[in-house]
């Protein structure tokens, strides 16, 4: 969609979503676990109270954090994810039949979104061949090996989180907070990005931009990021072990 006259920058997350959030929409939500999640945009969807959402996200947050917030308020009807092990509320709603889940292998999920954003109908992959993931899907043998047809995935809305962004919507992610954010940014009919630092155009080195601004329709600067840690693991300065 064309940017508003004021450009792509919105004053806050609620303002960026107020006129586009609606019941029953599909939403791509970036992040891996709680790392790199669009925490302000998720909170804005919570505040706007839209319901019956189909949310495509690798995980479902944890209780009351990340997408856990929208699960607790029953705003999500269906999740498309690869792993949801950390969320008790999810478990409860799923077992009660209140929530639908479609599991995709993590790489298949990422590639479906990449394909969706790149205008590719589908692709054949070895992942999931011979498992229940392949049930009901076309499979073909290539050089004697089975491949499963998986289709591209887009959504009405993509919400992503980056470290830095400029007024053109160019984005730079930080460390493993990148994860699903760049592919999801390409696959939303409207993509809204939140950033820790909103900088002037010309500040970011064009050679170092991860998501070109064409994919980002709206951008907001988040304030006071919580950035929770799920598994705080540390080592003692005397220890030789590199993991617990």
């Amino acid at each position: 969609m064309a940017p508003a006259a004021a450009g792509k920058v919105f004053p806050d997350a609620v303002a960026a979503l107020a006129d586009i959030a609606r019941d029953g929409m599909s939403v791509l939500s970036g992040g891996f676990g709680l790392c790199g999640i669009p925490e302000h945009l998720i909170a804005a969807l919570h505040q706007l109270g839209v319901r019956q959402l189909t949310v495509i996200s690798n995980n479902a947050g944890i209780d009351e954090l990340g997408l856990g917030l929208l699960l607790k308020s029953r705003q999500i009807r269906k999740m498309i994810s690869s792993y949801v092990g950390e969320n008790k509320e999810f478990e409860r709603q799923y077992l009660n039949g209140e929530l639908e889940i479609e599991f995709n292998p993590q790489g298949t999920l990422a590639e479906r979104i990449r394909a969706g954003g790149a205008g590719i109908y589908g692709f054949y992959t070895r992942t999931g061949a011979g498992t229940q993931v392949a049930q009901g899907k076309e499979t073909r043998l290539v050089d004697g090996e089975p491949y499963v047809l998986e289709t591209g995935l887009t959504a009405d809305l993509a919400i992503v989180k980056a470290w830095k962004g400029d007024r053109e919507g160019n984005l730079v992610y930080r460390k493993t907070a990148r994860n699903f954010n760049p592919v999801m940014a390409t696959a939303g009919r409207i993509t809204v990005a939140e950033v820790e630092q909103l900088v002037d155009v010309g500040t970011l080195d064009p050679d170092h931009i991860h998501t070109p601004g064409i994919f980002v329709h709206r951008i907001v600067q988040g304030r006071m990021y919580r950035k929770p840690i799920e598994q705080r693991t540390v080592r003692k300065r005397s220890s030789h072990a590199v993991v617990a």
Partner: protein, 217 residues
């Protein structure tokens, strides 16, 4: 005496070769990183989007933007790089990773692996396991030889839903090591934990496997 979890990880680490790119699963496989043999350099891949995974941070130096696939805080190394989930699984699916070490619930004599769901119990999802077994060149499974109730986990065919069909190259349990030269043949018993006999292993296994006369106990 059966191997401990640490000894199983140490045994798996002997399969590492210099220059390998390796993905370690959650649980016992993670411990393999503690036993990388001296003189061997491997690069650890974390499927959430990092190559060159470093050790856990010192207390106070945790960074919420820097985690591994188990959501644990980690550190970076001079060789590290970051990338998107799509690129990460391109590496995995595209056969660029040399070795994957994963946990298991069941392994069949045909090398099928089940490690992601138990019907009737809470389903958590497969995460990246299906992509790893489909794309990584060599797959090693680390698991206890029998379930808590004593029933075999290395069996003629898996009863649990599969993660992948004919994908396991080596199985390391607390009792023994099984290996196969390629994915069209069955497994050979190649090593026994100290003091464990082949007869004891066979008592606890329903899968068919070939005895190796040279299997050392």
């Amino acid at each position: 005496m059966p191997w401990s979890r640490e000894q199983m990880a140490e045994r798996a680490a002997r399969e590492l070769h210099d220059g390998f790119y390796v993905n370690l699963g959650i649980g016992i496989p993670t411990l393999v990183a503690n036993y990388i043999p001296a003189g061997i350099k491997v690069v650890l891949q974390s499927e959430n989007g990092m190559l060159g995974m470093g050790p856990f941070p010192y207390e106070g130096e945790e960074d919420p933007d820097l985690i591994n696939a188990g959501k644990q805080t980690i550190t970076e190394l001079p060789i590290s790089s970051y990338f998107s989930s799509a690129d990460s699984f391109g590496m995995i699916r595209g056969g660029h990773i040399d070795l994957s070490v994963l946990g298991g619930m069941e392994v069949s004599e045909h090398g099928d692996l089940a490690n992601w769901m138990v019907p009737g119990k809470v389903v958590k999802g497969m995460g990246g396991a299906m992509d790893l077994v489909a794309g990584v060149r060599r797959v090693i499974v680390l698991m206890e030889h029998v379930a808590r109730d004593g029933s075999p986990k290395f069996k003629p065919s898996c009863e649990l839903p599969l993660t992948g069909a004919s994908v396991v190259d080596m199985l390391i349990t607390d009792l023994a090591v099984f290996s196969r030269p390629d994915r069209h043949v069955g497994f050979d018993l190649i090593e026994l934990a100290p003091g464990v006999t082949e007869a004891q292993v066979r008592e606890r296994t329903t899968a068919r496997f070939r005895s190796a006369a040279r299997a050392k106990g």
